[in-house]
Subunit: 343 residues, 4 copies
């Protein structure tokens, strides 16, 4: 299959990460995280985020989000998030099923929620008839490819902490956010007041594996039980650990992210000049949202696989990944131009 | 770390399986199981188990068990299993949490449950005060390394089907069972009346990945939602699929299992002659259970990592794996002899 | 405390129902529903709804709703309802916690959802990433006191049944709806295509007790386990049964409802002519929604207890009950007039 | 139906309690516990248990147990209890479903568990593969009618508190225990170290209603949400409150319990002398367990309804209640004598 623009998870494994898998495939290692590779990977996370953090590896991104939320909630709590949030629409109800909590979804034009919007959900605090807000969950970058600035995150964190709420970040593509903003990973997470982070690996060149990072150690005391009961404790843990170690070493995480972001910029810039093609969201990471003529969608999909985001609007989503090439982009745009021309 | 006798999941990845991972790491593949690699792996399962089955890949073994149980239960149901079953003692309550069901645990000397024992739990059927038995779950080989014969499985299956129960098999090491019994994988599962099978990959040379096989297709209709909501839908699915394809090709599954079983036999035979060492369970797969002098346990663990099974009894568990060598066994037994001699 | 306009559940027990409690308080009765009183009450329901139905008594209204939903859902399902639905805002997340399902809330101006709105939620059917719509839940009368016509219910039922959905009705005040529409209880439930009904007793003069009525008997097979596991199986069941028998006999349910509705009409009519008071919803049952001058709310509450519905809008809710008198209404309106005059 | 010996919940409502219901059935009262009657009933509980306690009324006994457990557990916790415990066998899996926890059931000859037995379950503490013991739950009197002495309770409490466990007591018939022991309600609960108590009302003469008493106020902070989400918040709460106020006033709770216990003693004494009838448990409350000739069971049940406890053993359970008369006992024993004589 040619490289698609469907999702960054359609890509394979980055060669450096694959090599890391090979390197640790020697001899025996204690299972379930008591091995030296896991320790080394955790140390790598501390290089980026500082000390006094707790890092737990899980298999996938839905689990990272859901178990992170479970670490701080009881079943009568509510999680506030954007209507477009992955936890709200793309996890088949796992957050509700596993945590028991209700998600309170906030409509947004760009995937970003604000303190003002959250205030509107706080009137039921203390009233036994209503679920009790406990978590603000944001996605960085959002599912629409847009970014929260460090200050916007800080504002949400401050509000959260003033109201006994926890700030959770779905960072499935956190590397892409840091790359665009030109900041460290810590700048838009721990230093901005984030309490719990889903740190994405798979979408940035890993085979599998995500990390839940708890910046408040109180939440970590029992997380190992939550992970195991959540069916996310890998027996051969060294293979997740080795990937993360490679990803976080030598700026691989950043190089991959910068590359994907750059490809998205090139794609958006080139596509935007095609008549009938309109970019609908700020391109701040590796996603491009565009409206294209309705009759072009299926025809373009014959050549390149991608997802329709909003059928009635004719809005589509294109994603780039660490392995997207400039030639891929040129070919895709050329194809698009031909398809649109004949529509 | 030297090769331990702690668990078959302390081993790494078999070279053939690793090569398969490398082979599929090219270009893009649609995520979440709509790819050709997944189709190919499913076809491989059909070679072994026949047509009209449904195969779902998940990340780990706990998930394979729990989601398989969830496919056929409501929260008011009960699952009957041996007291020693992995689902009962080693999954941190995941079965109860995720399915809502109660586990009814049956004491056994050897990890095997019988129809007669199950009958004792059926008196509450139809009584609204009691959980309703719905699943008989057996492990093959058991957590004690022992085996159900095909006829014993058939007897349980017949009883189950006569009483509107489902027969579930935790086959985390099913290859080791088939190897010892000299039968096909289907002979001790589908052909013996098993309805749902957790087919293990990780313990037999894979990096990660297990399969839930549904022999009754009615249970499959909604399993994809159960898997996703159960946080077990891998985005880069091709990498689980490729491993299974390699494992099931060229009898790799069988060769690995035969080897591990043979090493266990050699270990048991050699250890049994050491004064003070008593083998406590039939060695029918790749596990050896033994009582050794109390004061030898910690001293032997200084050289080789393994688990104490029953502290008061001084019973330990040793496991072999696909990569255990005859020399490993000889060295371990020699070390044991020395330790015991000086106790 | 003077009779308030806060809620119909601030009222006590109707004398006829209290007498029924007294009448059955003789001798012993088998617990948990196998008694003659329960059989008699069920027969009474059959007089109203026809044969081949299943009636289960529970303690309260939240349970009636939640367990009715649980009877037809798996945890990966979704329940479609109005944003204002009791299940969505007033049950502290019990539906999500107990069923595991996600609620998909639909904004409405008047508490009523339409087929057109539901269609917008059906695009994810079959997609494993998304919760699967399974139930349309409507409230009759709505939480805003408005009514679905029998045809509107039928339209929703037809759409539901064409798409493998179940139509659930929260009928906590179903008597008030039937009273206004001048139809039988069956006309707006079973005959209109409703599959599952929460039949309210407490708000219409009972002490406690609600009924779940299953019009599709397939859903009833295991409901007794759902009820017991849902902690809603009363041991001294005869006391719920006797109340329902009395409520459904001699048109007591209808007389109570007509009275409460009439009081609401009188209240709305009288209040509407007060300058600064605006009735905001059609008064079709026993609820009156009104905007009154902001500074009058607290002052009026000093005399009569009632709830603020929407603080920013200055919208309040007044409810009448079976025991509200014409004098109560006159006094309340007079008080309101005085308070508004001096604002 | 003649008064049976099936269960104390086959009895009706004590006249004093019924009168209390009548007395509060006047005017309006705020729903959901913010009424004066609830405050008065809570004060009554403080008279018996002292200050600084939190009392929450719920509809039924299963809910009292389950929500009390939920107040202190996460889903990865385990609850230790006797194999015969109501939570283990008679609540249709509600504890597992609602709390997510695993119950670890301990075999006992008499329904009473000991510190020594609990110790055997503590080896997995801290191990992520195993559920984590958090609660010791005992029943007083036990389901077998036997009693823990205050010292036995204290021993369990001390062990619990030394190991970060909570001591929960199912006191569905706590009054019967206090009556036999000649101690106050507090002596065998709060003063003996119990942290959470299910205080039974229904079995001792109430129509419905149980109380969860939290002696450690930390657990109470969020219990109102647990109760509402647990579908146990009565809207017309005054009617539960009034019953408890009456039960706790004028020693009604004690008089009822003493009477029922006395009837059980008379029954046991008279039955024990019938050839072929053997009392199998100490009669310390209002339950009598006996083995009677197998062929007599069904014949005796033709005259009096009661439950078979253990079919193979021919063991039956007879219970007395506040309204059992000496004549009832005499007639029952006479009938039994006739039946046994002709067996």
């Amino acid at each position: 299959m040619p490289r698609s623009f469907a999702s960054d998870n359609n890509a394979g494994v980055h060669p450096d990460i694959f090599a890391a898998l090979q390197n640790v495939n020697i001899g025996h290692a204690i299972g379930y995280c008591d091995d030296v590779y896991t320790k080394r990977a955790e140390a790598k996370f501390q290089e980026h985020f500082g000390e006094n953090i707790d890092v737990f590896f899980v298999f996938g991104g839905t689990a990272a989000n859901v178990l992170g939320l479970k670490a701080v909630t009881h079943s009568y709590h509510a999680v506030l998030c954007a209507e477009t949030a992955h936890i709200n629409v793309d996890e088949c109800g796992a957050p509700e099923h596993i945590t028991g909590c209700k998600l309170l979804a906030i409509p947004t034009p760009d995937g970003k929620i604000t303190v003002a919007q959250i205030q509107g959900f706080m009137h039921g605090v203390g009233d036994q008839h209503h679920v009790q807000p406990k978590v603000i969950s944001i996605t960085q970058p959002t599912e629409l490819g847009t970014l929260y600035s460090p200050q916007e995150i800080r504002d949400l964190a401050d509000y959260a902490h003033q109201h006994d709420l926890v700030l959770h970040m779905d960072g499935a593509r956190i590397a892409n956010a840091a790359a665009t903003l030109g900041v460290t990973l810590a700048d838009i997470t721990r230093h901005a007041g984030v309490d719990i982070l889903s740190f994405g690996g798979t979408k940035n060149g890993m085979m599998y594996g995500e990390a839940v990072i708890l910046f408040d150690r109180r939440y970590a005391a029992n997380f190992r039980f939550i992970r195991k009961q959540g069916m996310q404790l890998a027996s051969k843990m060294r293979f997740i650990a080795a990937q993360f170690e490679a990803l976080l070493a030598n700026d691989l995480w950043l190089r991959n992210a910068i590359h994907a972001n750059t490809m998205a910029q090139q794609l958006a810039t080139s596509a935007a000049v095609i008549p009938g093609v309109n970019i609908t969201q700020n391109v701040q990471s590796n996603a491009v949202f565009a409206v294209i003529p309705h009759d072009c969608i299926a025809r373009l999909q014959e050549y390149y696989f991608f997802y329709v985001w909003n059928e009635p609007r004719g809005e589509v989503r294109w994603m780039t990944s660490f392995d997207t090439t400039e030639e891929d982009v040129r070919n895709f745009v050329r194809c698009m131009r031909e398809v649109v021309k004949t529509s």
